[in-house]
């Protein structure tokens, strides 16, 4: 299930956000929605999960009849 994890620091009120398990275009849409309300983040990066999934190559198996 797609989820967005927000973390608020009680001392400073600063916000961190991590989007997880959301397919590519939808992830960008969610990030856009958040920045529409919050403004541009000071830092934004794709996490390791992004690169792992992006490097997966489709495998094709030959069927023997």
């Amino acid at each position: 299930m797609p989820e967005i994890n927000f973390t608020l620091d009680e001392q400073t009120g600063e916000l961190e956000m991590k989007i997880a398990g959301v397919p590519g275009a939808q992830c960008a849409d969610v990030a856009k929605l958040v920045t529409e309300i919050l403004g541009e983040p000071e830092r934004a990066e794709n996490t390791q999960e992004f690169y792992v999934r992006a490097n997966v190559k489709p495998q094709v198996q030959n069927r023997k009849g």
Binding site: N5, L8, I37, T47
Partner: protein
Amino acid sequence: MSKYMTFTEIAFKDRALLVAALEEIGCIEIQQGNALPLGCYYSEQTPQTADVIVPRNTIGNAYGDIGFQRNEAGALTPIIDDLDRARVMGGRFIPQLRLAYHERVVQTVAARLRGTVHRTVEGGVIKLKVRY
């Protein structure tokens, strides 16, 4: 796909959410408009304007109005006397406002995604998980 973002700037992009957050932390008589004159304690201070104003002496701000003025990026940034910043809510005015604002942002995001919010608090950190 996964993405990580941090928001550290003290700026509030959504005026309605900002006003709601101000009310939540106890601000009253909040004024809204465009380039409203900002009241100050010292007469020699440079006149300033703001789009959202918390009037002086309404939340312990003895040295002047607390204002929020749009910056170039379109977000509202606080204008607050240094002495008030240190005194109002025991020096916690800005952190409390940011917390209230950010919690409303999360609720807004969840509502737009038709999702649910699960809230936990662990050692000075509030965790809000939106599932949709």
